[in-house]
C-alpha cells in the first residue's frame, strides 16, 4: 500500500472523527431543544423552587452550554448515554442489545437489494427498450414511490393474514424452534419492505451508468477484439459502472438505518428501530436521541469506509483499464 493511500486513509479518518464530533454536537443541541426544565420534570409539580435549583446545580445544568457539552461528550466517550426513562436501564445497554438485530436485517436487505438491483439494471441496460427493461424500470419507479410502512402492511395483509404463508412479525415464533429456518421465515417480509426502496434506486442508477459505460470507446474496442458479449459486459463494463453504484449503496445504508425504525415497527422486529418507536410512545428522549446518535455515527463510518475502499488498489472497483495503466 503506497504512502499516498495511507495518507488518504489518515486524512479520511481525521475527517470522519470531526464529523462524528459534529454529529454529537447536533444531538447535544437537540437535547437542549427539549422544552421544559429537566430538573423540574424529574422532581414533579410538587417540588419547591429551592429543590429544583439544587438539583439543577447537581446535574450541572447551571454551567455554560460549552461546559455542559464537554461533560456530556466525556460521558459519551465512556459509553454513558444516560438512563432510559421507560426501561430504567443504561441507554448504551439497551441500544447495544437491540442493534445487532437491526444490523442483521439491514445487512441482509442491503446485500439482497444491491444484488437484485444491479442485476436488473444490467439486464435493462443491455436490452434497452425491451419488455423487461420497461417492466423493471416501471417497477423501480413504483418501489421508489411506495411508503415502506404501507408496503409492509400490504405484504402482511396478503402473505400473512390472507394466504397465511409467512409470520406477521417478530423474530422467532413463540412456540418455534428458535433456529435458523424460523429466523429466516420471519426475516422475509421485513427484508422485502426495508430493501424495496433500495432495489428501485440501485436498479435505476445501475441501468443509467451501465448505458453510459457501454457507449465508451474501450467497450467498443473490447467488442472489436472479438471478446464474447458476456465477458465485455461483466468483465469490462460492469467494473466501471459499479463506481457510482457503490457510492449510492453507501448512501442507501443511511436510508436503511432510518427506514429500520418504520420497518421494525410494522413487523415488531426487536431492533433499535422498534426500541426507538417504543421510546417515542413513552417520550423516552435519552433512548430516541441515543438511537439517532448511534445510527448516524454508523452511517458516517460506513461512508468513510466506502471512500477508503475507492483508494485501495486491491479493490474490486478499480477499473481494469486504469490498473493496467
Amino acid at each position: 500500500m503506497g504512502h499516498g493511500v495511507i495518507a488518504f486513509i489518515c486524512r479520511r479518518a481525521a475527517g470522519m472523527a470531526l464529523v462524528l464530533l459534529g454529529v454529537s454536537l447536533v444531538v447535544f443541541l437537540m437535547i437542549k431543544l427539549i422544552p421544559g426544565d429537566p430538573a423540574a420534570m424529574l422532581l414533579g409539580p410538587q417540588a419547591s423552587p429551592e429543590a429544583v435549583r439544587q438539583l439543577r446545580t447537581a446535574m450541572g445544568l447551571d454551567a455554560p452550554l460549552a461546559t455542559q457539552y464537554l461533560r456530556w461528550i466525556g460521558r459519551l466517550l465512556h459509553g454513558d448515554l444516560g438512563t432510559s426513562i421507560s426501561l430504567s436501564e443504561p441507554v448504551t445497554t439497551v441500544i447495544l442489545h437491540s442493534f445487532s438485530n437491526t444490523a442483521l436485517l439491514g445487512v441482509v436487505a442491503l446485500v439482497l437489494a444491491t444484488a437484485s438491483g444491479i442485476l436488473a439494471g444490467i439486464i435493462s441496460a443491455t436490452h434497452p427498450g425491451s419488455p423487461f427493461d420497461k417492466a423493471a424500470m416501471l417497477a423501480a419507479l413504483f418501489l421508489n414511490s411506495m411508503p415502506s410502512f404501507w408496503l409492509g402492511l400490504v405484504l402482511i395483509l396478503v402473505l400473512s393474514l390472507s394466504l397465511r404463508l409467512l409470520p406477521v412479525g417478530g423474530m422467532y415464533s413463540a412456540r418455534g424452534s428458535m433456529g435458523l429456518p424460523d429466523l429466516l421465515t420471519h426475516m422475509i417480509l421485513p427484508t422485502l419492505t426495508l430493501g424495496a426502496w433500495t432495489v428501485g434506486i440501485i436498479a435505476r442508477i445501475s441501468r443509467s451508468t451501465m448505458l453510459e459505460v457501454i457507449g465508451l470507446p474501450y467497450v467498443r474496442t473490447a467488442r472489436a477484439k472479438g471478446l464474447p458479449e458476456r465477458g465485455v459486459i461483466y468483465k469490462h463494463a460492469l467494473r466501471n459502472a459499479l463506481l457510482p453504484v457503490v457510492t449510492v449503496v453507501s448512501l442507501q445504508a443511511g436510508n436503511l438505518l432510518g427506514g429500520a425504525v418504520i420497518t421494525e415497527t410494522v413487523f415488531a422486529w426487536p431492533g433499535l428501530g422498534l426500541l426507538m418507536y417504543n421510546a417515542i410512545g413513552a417520550r423516552d428522549l435519552p433512548v430516541i436521541l441515543g438511537g439517532v446518535l448511534i445510527m448516524s455515527a454508523v452511517f458516517v463510518v460506513i461512508n468513510a469506509a466506502v471512500d477508503v475502499l475507492y483508494a485501495l488498489p486491491c479493490c474490486l472497483i478499480i477499473p481494469p483499464y486504469r490498473s493496467k495503466g
Binding site: 404501507w150 443509467s208 458516517v300
Partner: protein
C-alpha cells in the same frame, strides 16, 4: 447531478417542456395525478360528502362501496372519503411548504457560497457535510422528538432536512455556470455581482432545480406520513393520511381498507411527483435520466 445538468436558454427550455409534455406518457400520467391532488387540496373540504370528524358508532368499519359510504368508515365510524379529501390539503401543505422554503434558503446559501468561493464556500460545505451526515428520517425524527409532536414540529423538521440538498445542488450549478462565457461576457460589460448571479447565473440553472424540487416534494409526502405514522407529526384526530394509516393498523385484520386506502393515496401522489420529475429530467437531460 450538478455537473451533468445542461444549461439552456429560456426559449430552448420552453420548447423542451412542450415536447416533453406532449410526447411522454409519464408526464401526462403525472400531470393527471397531480391535478387531482391539487383539486382535492383546494376543494377537498367542500367536496367531502360528510364531516370528516363526525363519529357514528352505528356505522363502524363499514367496508368500501356499501351503506352509502364510497370508501367506507374507520374504527370510529368516520367517513373515509371525507377524511381522505380533507387530508389532501394537509398533505399538500406539508409536502410543498418545506420545499418552497428550502428552495429559497438553498438558493440564497448555495448561490452566495458557489459564487463567493474561498473561505465562505469552504465553511458552508463543512457545515453541509455535517448536516448530511444524518440520514434524513433520523434527523427529522430526532428534531420532532425533541420539539414535541405537532404539525409545526413536522414542518420544521422537514424544512431542516430539505435545505442541505438544495444548497449543494445550487452551489454546484452556480459553480459550473459562473465559468460560462455568457457570464464572463456580462461581467466584462460591467454587470454587478448581484445582477450577474440573479439575471445570468440563477436563471440558467432553474431547470434542474425545478426537477429536483418536484422529486423532493414527492419524498416529502412520504416523510410527512412517516412522521405521523410514528406519532411525531400531525396528531389524531386530525384527518391526516399518515395518522389515518396508523389508526387503521390495529384493525387491519378486520377492516383492511382503513389502512390501505390512505397508503394508496400517499403512493399515488408520490408516484405523480416522481413521474413528472423523471419526465422533466429525461427531457432536460436525457443522458443522465435513469
Amino acid at each position: 447531478m450538478a455537473a451533468s445538468a445542461r444549461l439552456v436558454g429560456p426559449a430552448a427550455a420552453g420548447r423542451m417542456w412542450r415536447r416533453g409534455l406532449t410526447r411522454r406518457w409519464q408526464m401526462v400520467a403525472g400531470a393527471l395525478i397531480l391535478s387531482g391532488f391539487a383539486l382535492a387540496a383546494i376543494a377537498g373540504r367542500a367536496l367531502a360528502p360528510r364531516d370528516p370528524y363526525a363519529m357514528d358508532m352505528t356505522h363502524r368499519m363499514v367496508p368500501p362501496l356499501s351503506s352509502g359510504y364510497i370508501l367506507g368508515t374507520d374504527a370510529l365510524g368516520r367517513d373515509m372519503l371525507s377524511r381522505l379529501l380533507s387530508g389532501a390539503q394537509l398533505a399538500f401543505v406539508i409536502s410543498t411548504v418545506p420545499v418552497v422554503l428550502a428552495l429559497v434558503a438553498g438558493t440564497l446559501i448555495g448561490a452566495v457560497s458557489g459564487y463567493a468561493g474561498g473561505a465562505v464556500d469552504y465553511c458552508t460545505m463543512r457545515v453541509l457535510d455535517l448536516w448530511l451526515a444524518f440520514p434524513s428520517i433520523l434527523l427529522a425524527l430526532g428534531l420532532a422528538a425533541a420539539l414535541g409532536p405537532s404539525l409545526r414540529t413536522a414542518l420544521t423538521a422537514m424544512l431542516v432536512v430539505n435545505i442541505p440538498p438544495f444548497v449543494r445542488l445550487l452551489r454546484g450549478l452556480v459553480l459550473a455556470a459562473r465559468e460560462h462565457t455568457f457570464v464572463e461576457a456580462a461581467r466584462s460589460l460591467g454587470a454587478s455581482t448581484p445582477r450577474l448571479v440573479v439575471r445570468h447565473v440563477l436563471v440558467n440553472v432553474l431547470s434542474p432545480v425545478i426537477v429536483y424540487a418536484t422529486l423532493q416534494t414527492g419524498r416529502n409526502v412520504i416523510l410527512a406520513a412517516s412522521l405521523s405514522f410514528l406519532g411525531l407529526g400531525v396528531q389524531p384526530p386530525t384527518a391526516d393520511w399518515g395518522v389515518m394509516l396508523s389508526e387503521g393498523r390495529p384493525v387491519m385484520a378486520l377492516a383492511p381498507a382503513i389502512a390501505t386506502i390512505p397508503g394508496l393515496a400517499i403512493f399515488v401522489v408520490t408516484l405523480g411527483f416522481n413521474l413528472i420529475g423523471d419526465g422533466m429530467r429525461d427531457v432536460l437531460d436525457p443522458l443522465t435520466g435513469a
